[in-house]
């Protein structure tokens, strides 16, 4: 699904040069549930951004389903992201001016679905996330757990093959956190590849494989379950 070779990411400001990722070689198989762990500043989020084609590597290669994408242009990356990759963020990142339904429909809108189809699909996924009754509400009117469920609905509404989750439970209490993890597990069972950055060992336990990063390098890979 996702293969990286000798991946480097260097951030430059006018004064300092920070190497966020060095020499990352990873191979993520379709249908895998991978957790990425490590201390703050170890490069977890940078790696996730590269996986999500939100950023370009300084050097090295990324293969998405066999296609080299690291030198893709902005337009090509957008095209590839659309419908293929879903994102879940720690801070939910719902658009405040839009209702729950509108937020969820957004990826479908960019994929060119008709209004009718969008409504149908978003209702279906909101139902699944058990939050359909709040579909006309605005994000500020929801609790954190509810917002994250909406964010997950938005991430998966277009049936992406890959879902990237950046500390999805980081802003949630344990009860809501568990709910979110269960939803992710369920998606994974249905065949979605999930890569999740997390601080929580408990959450990581739910993954098939845990990748530990330290100072921009992969230190250990625990394969918890054979595929």
């Amino acid at each position: 699904m996702l293969v990286t070779k000798n991946l480097y990411k260097v951030f430059k400001t006018s004064e300092v040069e920070t190497t966020a990722l060095r020499n990352i070689d990873l191979d993520i198989k379709p249908g895998e549930f991978v957790a990425i762990m490590g201390p703050s500043g170890c490069g977890k989020s940078s790696l996730l951004n590269l996986f999500g084609l939100l950023d370009e590597p300084t050097s090295g290669n990324i293969f998405f389903n066999g296609t080299e994408v690291s030198n893709f242009k902005e337009k090509q990356r957008t095209l590839l992201r659309k419908g293929n990759i879903g994102f879940i963020f720690q801070s939910f990142n719902l658009i405040e001016e839009l209702t729950v339904s509108q937020n969820v429909e957004l990826p479908l809108y960019y994929l060119g679905f008709s209004a009718k189809q969008r409504k149908l699909k978003s209702d279906e996924i909101l139902e699944k996330m058990n939050i359909l009754n709040r579909k006309s509400h605005y994000p500020q009117q929801l609790s954190g757990g509810q917002q994250q469920r909406v964010a997950i609905a938005r991430a998966v509404v277009s049936n992406p093959k890959l879902v990237l989750a950046d500390e999805p439970t980081g802003n949630l209490d344990s009860e809501n956190g568990e709910q979110v993890m269960n939803l992710l597990k369920e998606l994974n069972k249905e065949g979605t590849t999930i890569i999740m950055v997390t601080h929580s060992a408990e959450d990581a336990e739910k993954a098939d494989r845990i990748i530990n990063l330290f100072d921009g390098q992969v230190v250990t890979e625990n394969i918890r379950k054979a595929i």
């Binding site: 951004n49 999500g52 939100l54 950023d55 370009e56 902005e74 337009k75 957008t78 992201r81 659309k82 419908g83 994102f87 963020f89 990142n93 658009i95 957004l106 990826p107 960019y110 994929l111 938005r154 277009s158």
Partner: protein, 812 residues
Amino acid sequence: MSHLKHYLTTLVKAFQRDLFYSLINLFGLAIGLASAFLIFLYIQDELNYDKHFESCDRIYRLEANFNIKGKEDKFAVTQFPMAPTLMDEYPEIETYTRLFPADALFFEKNQEFFQEDSVYYADSTVFEVFSHSFIQGDARKALVEPNSIVISSSMAKKYFGKTNVIGETLKTNDNNLFTVQGVFEDIPWNTHLRYNGLISSTTVAMRIGEERFNDRSAGSFWNISVYSFIRLKPNTSINSIFDKFPAFYDKYMRELGDQINGGFTLMATDISAIHYSTSNLQYDQPKGNKSYLYILGFVGLFIVIIASINYMNLATARSARRAREVGMRKVSGAHKGLLIRQFLGESVLLSFAAMVIAAGIIVLVLPLFNEFSSKQFAIMNLLSPSVLLILLGITVFVGLLSGMYPAFYLSSFDPVKILKGIAVSDKNGASFRRFLVVLQFSISVFMIIGSLVVSSQLNFMKSKDLGFDKEDVIVISLRDSTLRTNLEAFKEELKKSPLILAAGASTSNPGQDFGKNVMRIEGADGTMEEEALNNFFVDYDYIETMGFRIDTGRVYSRTMGTDLDKAFIINQKAASEFNWHDKALGKRFQNRLNLDGTAAMDGEIIGVLDDFNYGSLHNPIEPMVLMLTDRNEFFRNLSVRIKPGSANEAIEWIRNTRERFDPYFPFEYKFLDQSINEYYKEEFAISKIFKVFTILTLFVAALGLLGLSAFITQQKTREIGLRKVLGSSSAQVVAMFLKDFGLWVIVANLIAFPFAWYFMDKWLQNFFYKINIGIGFFIIALMLSLFAALITVSWQSFKASRLNPSESLKYE
């Protein structure tokens, strides 16, 4: 003082922190202030016409209203004996003076003659009526002796290079010598009757004889000739003279009046009101149109409002950034009033900074402004205390106007919430800003439509078929007798060049004044009826030269031999007005009437011309008579039709030919279409002003939008990133912003349309011949405003849309 210093520091810091927005504010305000100030100067100048004369409220211009057979003819000039006779009759009059143009006078300097348009003959009392400051000479004695002249300092400099020229002489083209008896400071430009030189009226008395000069016989009261001014004694009213005037009429005018079936009413206008009087008088000086002042006033106000809105928008948009400062100040004991004062102080200070830039702009553009407003403002004019005070006033006003809303908005923040870190809700602020932007664009759209309509109407008037071909006609003025006596030979000589197609002489021309005479026309039952009619005299070639089209009959012809004094040509309008319609040919017609029913010119209609516009397109065509004369001394113009596209060579040819006939007299000419366009001088000026300020308005509005869109995109950076993560392309992000702003601009257009239509339709009512306000104007305005808005907005949003989502998501 330390307070001020403290706030100054805060202001400078806030300015630096948001340099981009602050510069937008500063320049927007500077442009607004400069515009408002220039417009103010213009309006002030216009409203103070003639007010610089001492006791101007007691000075009146006498005007004449003749009533012949129920038709009124009003004149800005009066009978020669009117003013002195009134003075003798009515003790209310303190003094009087009369002025009449010394036309066709050329003054010599180093053997070359220069034409002076603004030299008048004047009674010696002219300086009693109109206060002047004399540089040289004694105002009371200067114009007493014949052949005396008093000149302005600029005329003195022109002919002598200095102003101490008492006793020097000026020689004219007719070999008269005038002795300079005084030099006065140039009269301000905002004077309705502005002269550079005055010649003693006793000069005329000497030439024509005292008796004729002082003639008060019945006939002299039925003849108009001079501008007459009276000054009333304090605490008297012009109305008391009007009230007593019937007795005056009985005494001096009735006997002859009854014979010619006429009547007369005296009128008068306070001199400071002449420039904007709406009465339509013949021989009046060029006047102003007050409605244009209102328009300009509004335009000035609009620009100031738009610039102030920029300030309000950007100040409130950035308010979140200053929320913490407000919170801290409040917690530290600042009450709301103090904060309001602080923020108002900031806006006023910024306004003053803008004023400094505005002053620079004004100095830079003043020559340009003078050019298109036909004014003569000098930098020195700007430094008078009253003007500076106004500049100060406008600056404080703009500062307060723009600071008012932000001050109340910012100072009302709840400190507890702010310091707890709860984001300040900007809901109300955001919708108010939207409203303001819509307002700005409504004003801009209004201005766009306005200037489009004005310039289309002008184009329409310039290109309208007037019923003759006004292009390629050079009009030579015939002021010198040498040329007039040799007119036929001169015409023949001119036509020897292939560049000259035709030449014809006339007493008047389209674009010039026409005389009105009482004539007699054949009525329904064959009896003769009196009519006051516009008319002018032409030679055999004039009608053909101008290209007037014949409806029925023929034009004047040398071969007929009977046309002189016996043949008349009228326009269609006259034929229909007299109920002759298509049976006009052969109708009897008389001019230069005698009281016994006979006439010096007595004959019939030989031709009817298609109607042609000889006057301004403000007014409908009136009946017109073109009469033939062979008395060349009457002619004022020789119209020469030249080969199209050969203006320069043709003028050279005419100049050379003319020099052979009369080498001493200066060659004066005008293009016919240019003199006709003189009618619309004011409209042209207002159109230029309108265009410039429309562009400025749109520019300042776009500047504001630039700032606001920059702010909004900045605010939405995270959302943009998020949308891109969810599959949006950069183009879609830009489109989202454009849609949003575009919608506001469309709303602004819809608001502006009815207002623009209403006011421009009203303006067009000034013209008899006018364009329709088509949908095209609105479409262009919509396109232009959308274009301006979209260019501005897309620049900002494009920048934001190009950011890598990983960057924008970090943005908080």
